[in-house]
Amino acid sequence: MADFLGAYSIQSWLESAPQGYLVGTEYGHAPGEREPEFVLENPVLRAAAIRTTVQLVVGERCALAASSGLINCAPDEASKRFLATQTIDEARHVEIFTQRLFDLGVRKSELEDLLKSQANPHLVRFAQVLLDKVERKDFVAGVVGQNVILEGMAFHVFELMHAGNQSLNPKFAHTLSGTIADERRHVGFGENRIGSLIREHPDKKPEVQRMQRDMSGHMLATFAASFRDGLAEREEVERVQRAAAARGVAEKPATWQGADLQALEPAELEKLLGETVLREFKVRLGRIGLEYQTPPGP
């Protein structure tokens, strides 16, 4: 265990993140990059960007509360130190996504009310399931919920958003690329550290699997609501793309998981995202000795 945890030291984190892929960035993107005019000037797209970013802030606030809360119940010092790096990563994510809301024109005085009014209720319940475990100082369930389920979901959501924004909104795509690199590290820790703990505490399996089932259910409901809410945005994006094409501005095709994102209907995108995340859950849970539990249908 000591050898594997060596790869998750603060020194490794310093060299890979602040002294690595974050060098030369400002709030996660290149200095001077701005939200594109077509987002800032189009009420539908601006509102959609705000609504999406609110969910990111809510998710990251949950991750910050969970990773900092897990430090005090970690069974060894190396895990505590890794979780300290995860805590600051999550704090950075809260900061850069909050900054995006300000860049989109949200006033600082409006922030908390905006988060309350626009947070997806399923995402809030997803967070509550996890934070209940952290509150009870349940390290095994907390790390599975945080580093396998939450981070696994975030990783794919960020990748999908990154693919969709690379050409349309390079600033946001750059912001996302640093968070994707962070999430990859967090998922790796969860998988590596928890396998041995599950073997030591097989009695924990049913409870942890129940938590996974509940969190997966809330996650899928969050995806469904988000894609349903995004129909007007989709039409506006297509209009912007047609106008750009008419001006002769060719856009690079956005692909993710082998699919052409522009060719997919919102329901197909939702299905692709849900299936990708769940497939990954099954693989990762299997590696740590847990069996994926299918959530009840809507």
């Binding site: 030291s9 900092s68 809360g69 010092e77 300290a84 805590t87 704090a91 809260v94």
Partner: protein, 260 residues
Amino acid sequence: MTSPGRSQEPHRLEPEEFFEEVHSFEFWFQAVTGYLTGRPYGHRPETAAPAADPRERERLLTVLSSYCVGETAALEGASGLVAIAPNRQAKIFLSTQAVDEGRHLEVLLHRMRELGCARPEEEVERRASQTLFTFKRRLLDLVASRDWEAAIFAQNVILEAMEFVVFQTHARQADPVTREVLEGIVRDERRHIGFGENELGRRLREAPHARARLAQVRRELDPLVLASFEETLAEVGTPRAERPELGRNYLAAVARLGFT
């Protein structure tokens, strides 16, 4: 990372913007980048320490063990405080503090390994000051009780001032490697003390009655701090006549922060 334009001179900012700025991850990175770059595990690779004689090495390992307990207390305290911090900016600042404290623990354990200690975690359990374990328990009780003012006072004023004074004193007489490690830690502690002073100063202006509660916390913790000084200084080899000065320096540091 590059600094946002407005960060060039934070003291010129309006109070609200200053608060946002100095509690941010971006500000933290600007602060640490100079003294952490090129110093893996807290010191320059080319810095060398002469071989210590066995008795000095033993003493240093014991002192570093106690420091590890202090830093573990600080790591667990800072991370616990994230949950009860009253606003986003304080949560983000405390996250930067948690990683600072984790780094301190890591560089101290690494220094123990450099001194030939194969299992530093076990040595910490065996050698560290019992007084500091008591302090740690008390601090974490305050955090668990969700008493924001008392917990911030114990963590970012008492514990940080104690470490600041001890590490600064020890660095002056330490071998070159230990000195660089301690000097890097002291630079972080300054930032943490600044946060505690700022946060409590504002809170006490709004709720002066909290001062009596903090005085009670201090009456309880000061004897533990002073006893741990005595133990540490004896191990470091500070002459008995000079030891009270450290206690006075600590008391003066806390008084300067407005907590008499």
